[in-house]
């Protein structure tokens, strides 16, 4: 059975997914750290910025 932290983490990640706030890859990365309380402020920023860079790279690739 999921722990309360795991239950809440699942819901949070699902909402991130629904609102397209993060890529699937980043959501997977966040999973365990989120419920274990291991995320630091810079980790949160990193996932968002990594997604942005990835998107920019993809956009640049398409335009070429």
């Amino acid at each position: 059975m999921d722990t309360p932290d795991e239950q809440v983490a699942k819901k949070i990640l699902q909402r991130f997914r629904e609102e397209s706030l993060l890529s699937e890859e980043s959501i997977k990365k966040l999973g365990q750290s989120l419920c274990k309380g291991e995320l630091r402020a810079e980790d949160w920023r990193l996932v968002v910025e990594t997604d942005r860079f990835r998107k920019e790279d993809n956009d640049a690739g398409k335009s070429q």
């Binding site: 309360p4 932290d5 239950q7 809440v8 983490a9 819901k11 949070i12 909402r15 991130f16 609102e19 706030l21 993060l22 750290s33 989120l34 419920c35 274990k36 309380g37 291991e38 995320l39 630091r40 402020a41 810079e42 980790d43 949160w44 920023r45 968002v48 910025e49 942005r52």
Partner: protein, 789 residues
């Protein structure tokens, strides 16, 4: 396998000055540890906290003058190293000791999860401020991992906002600088940014080269000027040295004129002669070849030289100033060479220069051709150099002015470019930060919503459960509908409200009685423990019921037994004797309850357990005892009979003679069960295998017991001559008839009298197996729930 505690052994722990072992019957759903105040109930609860939760129990709630709780954990005067708590469970055995680092449990994992409720918890929960109340329930309702991640996310939002603010500030500042420069330039074009972009796009390489060239000319002028200066200084110094030399020579001539016997040549000759003669010591004079006396001649030479001291001094001075002049001449020669070199360099730089400041000089370069090659140091060239310097110098200041102006232009352009780059970079950065901050903020909202939603879900579920439990305890009292909720705007703050006399939204702690608050606290605890129970959870209630009236106590006991099925084990400590007596007199499910009685505490013995028996068990034991105590048996049987008749007469509202003290004799109670009731009074016992439920008429049993009630009066209560006439057989017979009545009326399964009314036609025991018919006295109106006393 569900966790069940078989026994707990304490040694040197709190009140357990000796070693004490308390065994638990794991077949019973509730263990009631009864003891009067100071018998060690909290010690047992604290021992559970120590071994199961590594906690310091009730000590954690007390002020200990700044000393740590663990320093008071060992029994009075005993070595903390000898403190032991041993727990034997269905999951294994666990041993706890006290170390410097705190409680040490062996093995460290697998111990049951003991949820311990003390009265202090209830007071804190209900009376505390919302934040403290939240802290009290935090371990139940928080998701610590999510909490930590949420805090980190909040910090990320904060730093991103700061980054955004900083980027916007830098961007605004750069724009402000550009506007200032734009205005200073007369606000050309449409706006400052457009102008700045145009300015930044201009090529300034030529200007920079020009400034570099002018800087080279300036340096050459500077160097040549310095060398001219140095040469002039050297010439002045040489001139002064020559004047000194002339003066010294004149002084020497004056002295020589004053002394006709001596001059520079003679003094020199004397000095040389003295050196030669003193050194070689010849026997004959090397000049006149006459025989000489060396020592005498040396002495004479010394005398003559001493007569020419003034001349000697003048000669030394002349020699010194001469050397000075020679030195200055060398310096002048070097300075001249340097000057020529620098002027030559200057000429070489100016020759190809096309700057107007230079062109307007109209220098006739052929005249200075010699300067343009590596110059020889000649007077002629020096004159040329001086002439050239005079011609060229006028362009130096205008060139410097041009250089400063051009430099300013370059600086301004660089400043524009720098500010423009800053503006562009910070604008980009602020957009990125804005997007980042927005995304993080939205993520924070989601995390916060989900966490709160989870907590509120728990609080809602708990509120519903609390309401159910509380209504069972306080039916029809106009209180309840307890609601726990979080304030939207406050973090870590738990609010509570409820109904009072059906008015909603009141603070229970402001309107409820103390006992109502106690039961509310217990309901909250049970609801929480139930919501978060695991297969390892056992519940320990440490003296949480203080003083409640009979009906509430009965309902509480019934509720506790009903809820006990949700937990592996419920262990209750109480000092409340009416609770313990409920089991003694079969007013509660004694068969499903293990009563553990604590005897008086002493320093020598510590905690002591006393064997508990129900009144029926005690009577049976007394009857079976080989050394038959007829008085005790008669007395006990009489009291049991009284309790049975008391139960029946109250249940059926029988007519019993009143007296001022509201006391009834056994005879009064016996006569209360009249023939009308006796005819219909029966117990319906659980079915035997293969048979239907069997009805047992109570009338004959009551008759049998009450017919012999005089035995109690004669043998068990008073001194009476007739007592001697009563045989042991009669006494035993009286007891047996009372026991037969008790056996018929008390459920074998739960050990309780049928005191509940689940239907409109009969009474029922706690477990529901035994029924007592009818529900009311024949022909009487059905009673109310309040009759369940």
């Amino acid at each position: 396998m569900p966790a069940k505690v078989n026994k707990i052994r304490l040694a040197g722990f709190r009140g357990a000055t000796g070693s004490v072992e308390i065994c638990f019957d794991t077949t019973k759903s509730v263990a009631l540890v009864f003891g009067e105040n100071g018998t060690g109930k909290s010690t047992i609860a604290d021992a559970f906290d120590f071994v199961c939760n590594r906690g310091f129990g009730s000590l954690e709630d007390r002020s200990l003058s700044g000393q740590p709780a663990k320093s008071h954990l060992s029994a009075l005067g005993q070595d903390p190293r000898n403190l032991r708590v041993f727990l034997s469970t269905s999951m294994g055995d666990f041993s706890a000791s006290l170390t410097k680092g705190g409680p040490a449990i062996s093995p460290p994992n697998g111990c049951p999860d003991a949820r311990i409720l003390r009265r202090s918890n209830i007071l804190r929960l209900l009376n505390a401020q919302p934040k403290q109340r939240f802290d009290e329930l935090k371990s139940f309702v928080t998701v610590p991992g999510i909490d930590k991640s949420e805090n980190a996310l909040r910090e990320a939002c904060r730093t991103s906002e700061e980054g955004l603010n900083e980027a916007v500030r830098a961007c605004t500042q750069a724009k402000g600088e550009l506007e200032r420069l734009w205005v200073a330039e007369g606000s050309p074009g449409e706006d400052a940014l457009q102008w700045a972009n145009a300015e930044a796009g201009k090529h300034i390489a030529a200007l920079e080269s020009l400034v570099d060239a002018v800087e080279g000319i300036d340096d050459a002028f500077d160097d040549a000027g310095k060398d001219f200066m140095s040469l002039e200084i050297a010439l002045d110094e040489l001139s002064a040295a020559r004047i000194d030399q002339t003066r010294a020579q004149e002084e020497q001539g004056r002295i020589e004129a004053k002394e006709p016997k001596g001059d520079e040549a003679i003094l020199k000759l004397l000095r040389d002669a003295r050196t030669l003669i003193a050194g070689r010591r010849p026997s004959d004079c090397p000049v006149c070849e006459q025989r000489i006396e060396t020592d005498n001649l040396v002495a004479r030479l010394d005398t003559r030289m001493s007569e020419m001291t003034e001349l000697s001094t003048a000669m030394t001075t002349v020699s010194k100033v001469k050397r000075n002049v020679e030195s200055k001449e060398v310096v002048v020669a070097q300075r001249r060479k340097d000057m020529l070199q620098q002027v030559s360099e200057l000429a070489k730089i100016l020759r190809p220069c096309s700057l107007s400041e230079v062109r307007t000089l109209n220098i006739s370069w052929p005249e200075f051709q010699e300067l343009l090659i590596t110059p020889d140091v000649t007077e002629k060239l020096e004159n040329k150099a001086r002439e050239f310097w005079k011609m060229a110098k006028p362009c130096w200041t205008p060139l410097r002015e041009r250089m400063e102006t051009d430099r300013k232009s370059i600086h301004q352009r660089n400043a524009i470019k720098g500010h423009l780059e800053t503006h562009t970079e910070q604008l980009k950065l602020s957009r990125e930060y804005h997007a980042l901050a927005q995304k993080l903020q939205r993520m924070l909202e989601i995390v916060s919503e989900e966490r709160k939603g989870y907590v509120e879900g728990i609080l809602d579920a708990i509120s519903v459960e609390v309401e159910r439990l509380y209504t069972a305890l306080h039916p029809g009292e106009g209180i309840g509908k307890i609601r726990f909720y979080l304030k939207r705007t406050t973090i870590g703050s738990l609010e509570i409200d409820g109904h009072f006399q059906n008015v909603p939204g009141v603070l229970p702690q402001a309107y409820y009685s103390e006992s109502h608050l106690d039961t509310l606290g217990i309901c909250v605890f049970l609801a929480l423990a139930k919501h978060f129970r695991t297969e390892d959870t056992i519940v320990v209630l440490d003296d949480v019921v203080t003083s409640v009236d009979g009906p509430h106590l009965d309902r509480f006991v019934a509720l506790l037994h009903s809820e006990a099925k949700h937990f592996n084990q419920v262990i209750v400590m109480t000092h409340y004797r009416p609770w313990r007596d409920r089991y003694r007199w079969a007013k509660g499910p004694a068969a499903k309850t293990q009563v553990i009685e604590l005897g008086p505490w002493t320093l020598q013995s510590g905690l002591q357990t006393v064997h508990f028996l129900t009144a029926i068990e005690e009577l049976k034991k007394a009857v079976e005892k080989r050394e038959f105590d007829r008085q005790a048996v008669a007395s006990k049987a009489g009291i049991v009979l009284e309790s049975m008749l008391d139960f029946i007469t109250i249940r059926y509202r029988c007519s019993v003679p009143r007296n001022a003290r509201n006391e009834y004799t056994l005879g009064d109670l016996a006569s209360g069960v009249d023939s009308k009731l006796s005819k219909v009074l029966c117990c319906r016992k659980p079915p035997r295998p293969g048979l239907a439920k069997s009805d047992v008429s109570i009338k004959s049993l009551i008759d049998s017991a009450t017919e012999a009630q005089w035995v109690r009066n004669c043998v068990g209560c008073h001194f009476h001559e007739l007592g001697s006439e009563v045989s042991d057989t009669d006494v035993r017979g009286f007891a047996q008839s009372v026991l037969a009545l008790a056996d018929a009326m008390i459920c074998e399964s739960c050990g309780a009298l049928p005191a509940r009314r689940p239907s409109g036609s009969y009474w029922q025991c706690t477990c529901g197996e035994l029924e007592l018919h009818p529900l009311v006295y024949p022909g009487a109106e059905p009673g109310t729930i309040a009759d369940e006393i």
